[in-house]
Symmetry: C2
Subunit: 330 residues, 2 copies
Amino acid sequence: MSDTIEILAAQVAFGNRRALAKAITLIESRRAADRTKAESLLAALPKPETPALRLGLSGTPGVGKSTFIEALGLMLVEAGHKVAVLAVDPSSARSGGSILGDKTRMEQLSRSPQAFIRPSPAQTQLGGVARRTREAIRLVEAAGHDIVLVETVGVGQSETLVAEMTDIFVLLLAPAAGDELQGVKRGIMEMADVLLVNKADGALKPQAESTRADYAGALGLMRPRPDDPKGYPAARTLSAQTGEGLSEAWDTIMTLATARLSSGALIARRAEQNRTWFREELTGQFLDHVQNLPAMKSAISDIEASVVSGALPPSAAARKVIESVFGETG
Amino acid sequence: MSDTIEILAAQVAFGNRRALAKAITLIESRRAADRTKAESLLAALPKPETPALRLGLSGTPGVGKSTFIEALGLMLVEAGHKVAVLAVDPSSARSGGSILGDKTRMEQLSRSPQAFIRPSPAQTQLGGVARRTREAIRLVEAAGHDIVLVETVGVGQSETLVAEMTDIFVLLLAPAAGDELQGVKRGIMEMADVLLVNKADGALKPQAESTRADYAGALGLMRPRPDDPKGYPAARTLSAQTGEGLSEAWDTIMTLATARLSSGALIARRAEQNRTWFREELTGQFLDHVQNLPAMKSAISDIEASVVSGALPPSAAARKVIESVFGETG
């Protein structure tokens, strides 16, 4: 068994795409036996010689995210990079994605041997998606991908999650009418390192520029990160369709990445991310352990009926269970 | 201390708005002493004589959610109801809301003595927001509000959370161009009991109707809930601005509520919700308890440095800690 895992790890490190896909399927599995194997696999992976750049990317449906990833990915592959695209989309839990799936997205990029694209797994819990994505990042890096794009949709918790597992967070926007600035949550603006207004082509070009200026103004009101170069967070326009502004947008991202790498900020950020990840793993594993304790099971079954009927508030009932298993909690 | 809590509970039950606001502030507090008080308060509340209708409402920014709530709330207040509006918006964690705040929203409704509006609390964790909102529902119901609207934004986990604490889930949409149906996640469509296309007025009216028809078609492809009357999930158009279609939309909601109440489905759903809530409370309280165990603290500090440096994968490190505190986990 352990032999097989060693072989899989070696295949992943050798850049075997099939092995990589198989390894990600393994870490996505929720079977206990697979989890043990997944941990062995992660432990057996070599560390990549140079750290990959981990890029978070968010944008609501309609901003042209797939077109952008396709254009950027193809540009980077052409420049000799190996690019991995991972998706974080907890809302796909029920059905495995939006009505139109991932299959028709990023068609050209998905055919490139230098690119690896993996859609979001179907998981009910944000925590499960987070673990899987962090581990998938480790896998694609071990497979030699030096640029890892982690994309997510919309307005919500998943942005925070992606920002917490990447080095730089990019927010993709569409040209907006005058008063639509309010639609973007301040919390998400605050996470963005680089803000890109897409669709700056044809008739929309002036509107894209004025949207960029509006956001640049809003970004100017926020506190800059102390270690970042002047001018960041930065706002740019581009057209993923025509390619105009794309390489300038990438330069904007790379200038920041280089600065953070040489200042030590990038390494410090990753150390902090490892700490958070460890805490979350601890939490998850505690819960698995305790929920299987016989004393816990019987205490729960004694009290559950009166909670379900509404007679006892859940918070008080939970306290009673904890006290009966572990003693007084104060 | 406990006297004060008894008095506060009585004041809430008497419909004192100031006491209600104070009680919600208490349950939102994360101080341990306040938590104990909050639990006493919840236990001291009388159960409302007739159950309130709990209505979940979701809609992305720009669909006119505030205008809709204002129009619906005023209509219901006029009809003699007491309406409470609670917001669930985990992404407001960092800054306390969108760039334009809640102050200018629902101006008329917020002045009505029969209405109580409470914005989303600033909480980092979805779990914290969920607990607070469930407890706030209990409080506003004890204060005599017979219709409780729980609103949330956008595309993500918060919809699931709101659907899981309400009786009926309403999705508000704007008229869309032909291919925008894909923007609404299938998972969210599947949660919706009633789908309302707003802005069916003026030039947008035909577009609203065709959007409604598109969604009705998509809903038709989904499995209906076995106990619901024929025709549900339902799709309607309305204009919150002009009021056209508003009372018909409300009738659509009430017909479903009445059917679910008389079939027993509503009570069964609440029992299931209580069970889930209890499990979540257990999880939260258990973690609080374990994280404060001295053995746990020392095991964590022994291993954390090698995780942070990247030498040890977080999942394997967490397993070591659990094993050292609780023994082998298998």
